[in-house]
Every structure is written in C-alpha cells, then in structure tokens.
Amino acid sequence: MAVAVEAVGLTKRFAGSSRPAVDHVDLATEEGEYLVLLGPSGCGKTTLLRMIAGLEQPSEGEIRIGGNVVNGLPPRARRIAMVFQSYALYPHKTVRQNIEFPLKAQRMPPDKRNERAEWATELLGLTRLLDRRPRQLSGGERQRVALARALVREPSVFLLDEPLSNLDAKLRTLARDDLKNFHERVGTTTIYVTHDQVEAMGMGDRIVVMLDGKVRQIGPPQAVYELPADTFVATFLGSPPMNLIPRDDVIVGFRPEKALPAAVLGEALDGHRRWTLEIHRIEYLSGDRHLHGLATGLGTPTPVIVRLPATVMMPIDVGGTHDFVVREDDLCYFDAETERAHEVRAR
C-alpha cells in the first residue's frame, strides 16, 4: 500500500550554525510517487531526508507519514526503509544476514524470514551472492544488496540518499534503469535525494529543487525545466543553463536550445523575437553546435550560449554576426530584484 509523506513548516537548526540547514519546508508526496529532492551539496536535502527517516529530530514543524504525525517516533516505528550513499552494509554479516537483519529485528520466525529474503534476492538478482560478505562485492552488487535490505520488509516509504553516486558512470546508467523499473514494480512512495540533475530529470515524477535549506520549486521535470520559478532553478537545471539577459527591471531568460538562426525559419517569424548573436566560440558536442557569443536586441548585451541541433546545417563561423529568433512563448521573465519568475509570461 502506498503511503504519502508530508512535511509542514519543517525546520532544522544545528547547534553552532547561524542559518537553518532546513528552513520551513512544506511538501507532500502523492501516494506511490517518485519524488526527487535536488540541489547542490549543502542545500539541506539529506537533512530533510534524515528527518523523515527519524535519524534527526526537527527543530520546528511536523512530519506526517500516512496522515500520522511521526515527530519524536524512532525510525523503526515509521515503517520507512532507507538506502544510504555508502550503502552502510554490515561488514561482518553475509549478504543473506544483511538482508534478513530488518526481519530479525521485527522478530519474524526464521523460516518466514528466509522466504522473504529469497524473494528479495531473486527480485534483485543476488541469489548467487547470498553467502558472500560485503567486501567481496562490487559497487553495483553492494547497491543492490542495500536495496534488497530496504525492500525486504515491505516499507511504506523508500528513502534513497544518493544511492548512485558511488558507482562509475556506466554502471550508474544501468542502476538508474534498475531503480526505476524496481519502483514501477513495487509502487512504493519513494523519496530520492540527488545532486545530479540528469538523475532527477530522468527518474522523478516530481522534482523538489532546494537551495540553502529552502524549497525553490516543486513540479514535474518538464515544468521545472521550462517554467523555472526563479533564476536559481533556471540556471541550476539544464546544461548549458538558461541564458539570462537583464532588461530594465526584468531578467529575460531562454533555454539555449530554444534559439534558432532567423534564416532557418525564412519568413514565418510571427510570434518570434529577433535578436543578433556575435559568435565568439563554437563547441561541437555530440552532433550539436554550442555557440558562445554576445546577444544584442533582447536587453543589455550579454554573453549567451545557443545550442544548435545537428539538423541545422547552416554554416556559422567564429567572429561572424547572425540574426537569431526565439519564440515569444519560450521566453521566461524574472523580476530583476527578487529573481522570482513573473506570473504572466509574455510582456
């Protein structure tokens, strides 16, 4: 049964630190949702997760799991399971003993325990590793054991703290698929902490973008990417990040891939904003061309990056100046002072 997790005004202050690690966070998962907490290191996402787990006590605010306030309850009373960045396997126990440990703690009888452990190991393809110890396993195998240990007692919520960051790049892609498939199969509400926007965009049903202990935006990947709530979200997500151009009391933003040379569109320029780009440098990255240059005509002349898709064959040289267009609908506007997005997008 999928269960929702809610945080209301959740705050954590650590002794000796002037600003709270988590600052009045409000969020609620939907049942069975895959919610990703995304932010740079030190933004409070792990502290938030640890408060939900019961490993840290909040300074203020409330945590509800399945509608019940769990503040003050120890982790074991919360029916949550957590996978740690380091996996935190018990080094002196075999894979089987590691996986059975949560069941043993529940005082489940040995034969039933065995059955559940076998079900979990089969699900994650660990059957032949049951008698090994963690130090005899590869990084990917350890991660799967940690997952099996979390899964085995059928928790109502999964908490994953950067479970992929200790894997090499190739393995990470595979493990990402595994995690996502796994979630689709078990359908348990999952909160996933990462600083990697690719993981967040690829896996999250919704993304919570955090900075300095505060939630900056919550939304599905597409909304967070295309309608960033402020300039931090706009530049934190996307590679290269959103271009931001100051104009009077607003900041105009557009994604690098939303600009095209005017010549490509010919005469059909209705609803487009025209501007010019003086090309300083061209990077050729996996078929696309990244044009670095100075944009004029959108506001104060500002360095920007434009990503030309491989399908645009037009010759462009360093030092040249070209006319570019961006659809009016693709422009974002932010208040120059608060850096928050304007409610009404077109101006």
């Binding site: 640890r50 787990a53 019961g54 490993l55 120890p74 982790p75 074991r76 949550i80 399971a81 957590m82 740690f84 960045q85 380091s86 935190a88 396997l89 018990y90 080094p91 002196h92 440990f101 949560p102 043993k104 703690a105 529940q106 240990r149 007692r153």
Partner: protein, 297 residues
C-alpha cells in the same frame, strides 16, 4: 656532490635503533637469561657462587602448596580480571562516547585510575579496604546492609581478599581497556548505526549484532594487553595484602619476590618467575597475530 650521513638510511636506521636495543638488552634480555640460569642453580643472596642443581628448584616449588596456590591464583585472577574488565570497559566506552552535559568531568574521573601508578592506587585501596576505617564499610553501615559495629575485614578473609585483589586490578585496567575499545567503537561509520536504527534494531540488538561484533578485534587486543599486565603484576598483591591471609592471595610474581628477594633464595625465586614465561609467550604470539590480521584487512 658527496652523500651525507642523512642519505645513508641503512646506517642511520641502525644508529637510531641502538638506544632501544641497548635498553632492551640491559634491562630485559640480560635479567631474563640470568633468571633462567639461576633457576637451575643454588644461588642465594648469601652465597652467590653458581652451582648447577638441575631441576631441583622446580621440584621443590612443585611440592610447595603455596606455589601451587600462587600458580592457580595467577590464572584465576587474570581470567576474572579480564572478564570483568571487558564487560565494564565496554560499558564505560559507551558512556565515554555518549553525549551529555558534564561529560568532560566524567571522562576525567574515569581515566584517573589509569594515570595513577599501580602501587599508589593500591595504597589508596589499602585505606579503602582497611579492617576498621574502611569507608566502604561505613557506607554499608549507613545504608543498613551492615550492622553498626561489624566490619567486612576485606583483606582478612580469603574470599574477600581475593575479590579485593581482582577488584583493584579491574579498577586500574578498565580505563585503558575502555579507551582502546572506544577507539574501536568510534571507527564504526555513523551510517552503519543509522542503517541499523532504520532497519528497526533497538539498543540491545544494535549492541549485540552491530557494535560488539565490529569492535571484537579491538576488544581482543585490549583483553590481551590487560591479561599480560595482570598476569605479571606483583605490586597490587604486594601492597594490598602481601599475600595475606596466610599466602591465600599470593600470585607467581609476588611469590617469586617473597622467595627470591625477601627470603634471599634467588634460585628458587627465579624458578617461580620462569613459570610466567609460557603464558606470556602464548599471549605475545596471539597479539602479534591479531595485529597482523588487522593490517591485512
């Protein structure tokens, strides 16, 4: 360019090892060889000429009931001290790592016995366990466990005197063992404890299934060090009971001292002390193996 003294690492290494080697040879190796040689002789303080007597001293000791008592006591005191030390040191180590107000005072007090010389500590205990003035008796009288005019006479009865010797040994060994075990406990990553908490393990299960197994190698080392210290110690028995009542609390080290130094029979004293050797050798081998296993893993 000429190579200086500092470049000749082999020579330099030998030079720097020299003081340590000289120290060990003069104060350990030479007395050790002399002790073994004496144990096969009839050397006494009054007549230091060396005459070979074979195993006579060992035979004489073996017939002596006090020697057998001392041999048994040495093993018994060491074993009892170790069991109590390991249990208490684990508890103290948990206290030392816990976070509470005033922990610095508690830490200081707990570590105090370790910094006190054994003989000095034993003298303090002589007062604590005095037949008439014992503060422990006074406390027992105040709480009503002991009649007002009666006394425990801690050091005067065989059982209580043995318990007192063990108690003082434990008192002085627990801090060292606790510090060693604490180092082992703090080496366990926080994530492991967090994982155990999330997995639903309470305090006792975490202790038995996570903390203790992971500190076991360190506990073993602490226990072995403590065993060697207890096994070879003579100062606690010497100062606390001097073997009383009637040699009931003698151990090998104190009995060797009584025979060899007090009684002047160097040869028989040496033969008593040589009995310490096999166990010390076994303990040393065990420590070296434990350390090597540690280095490998």
């Amino acid at each position: 360019m000429r190579s200086g003294l500092a470049d000749r690492e082999g020579f330099l290494a030998r030079l720097m090892l020299l003081p340590a080697i000289a120290y060990i040879v003069a104060l350990v190796a030479v007395p050790f060889v002399i002790a073994i040689a004496y144990s096969f002789s009839d050397v006494t303080a009054g007549n230091p000429s060396y005459d070979w007597v074979g195993l006579d001293n060992y035979r004489a000791n073996w017939r002596d009931p006090v020697f057998k008592r001392a041999l048994w006591n040495t093993f018994f005191f060491t074993a009892a001290t170790m069991v109590l030390t390991v249990v208490l040191a684990n508890i103290v180590a948990l206290l030392l790592t816990a976070d509470f107000r005033g922990k610095w005072v508690v830490r200081f007090l707990i570590l105090l016995p370790w910094t006190t010389p054994a003989a000095l500590g034993a003298i303090a205990w002589v007062f604590m366990l005095d037949s008439l003035l014992s503060p422990i008796d006074w406390i027992l009288q105040q709480v009503g466990l002991l009649d007002d005019n009666r006394h425990m006479v801690w050091l005067g009865k065989s059982g209580l005197a043995k318990a007192s010797v063990i108690g003082v040994q434990v008192w002085r060994l627990v801090p060292l063992a606790a510090v060693i075990i604490m180092a082992g406990q703090t080496a366990i990553p926080d994530d492991i404890h967090d994982a155990a908490a999330v997995d639903g393990a309470g305090f006792w299960r975490r202790l038995w299934e996570v903390t203790l197994p992971l500190t076991l190698p360190v506990i073993a080392v602490a226990a072995l060090f403590g065993a060697i210290i207890t096994f070879t110690d003579m100062s606690v028995v010497r100062v606390l009971t001097n073997g009383a009542p009637v040699n009931q609390t003698q151990v090998l080290a104190s009995w060797a001292y009584v025979k060899g130094i007090d009684g002047g029979n160097l040869a028989q004293g040496a033969a008593v002390a040589v009995f310490l050797l096999p166990l010390l050798l076994a303990a040393t081998v065990a420590i070296l193996r434990a350390v090597r296993r540690w280095e490998v893993s």
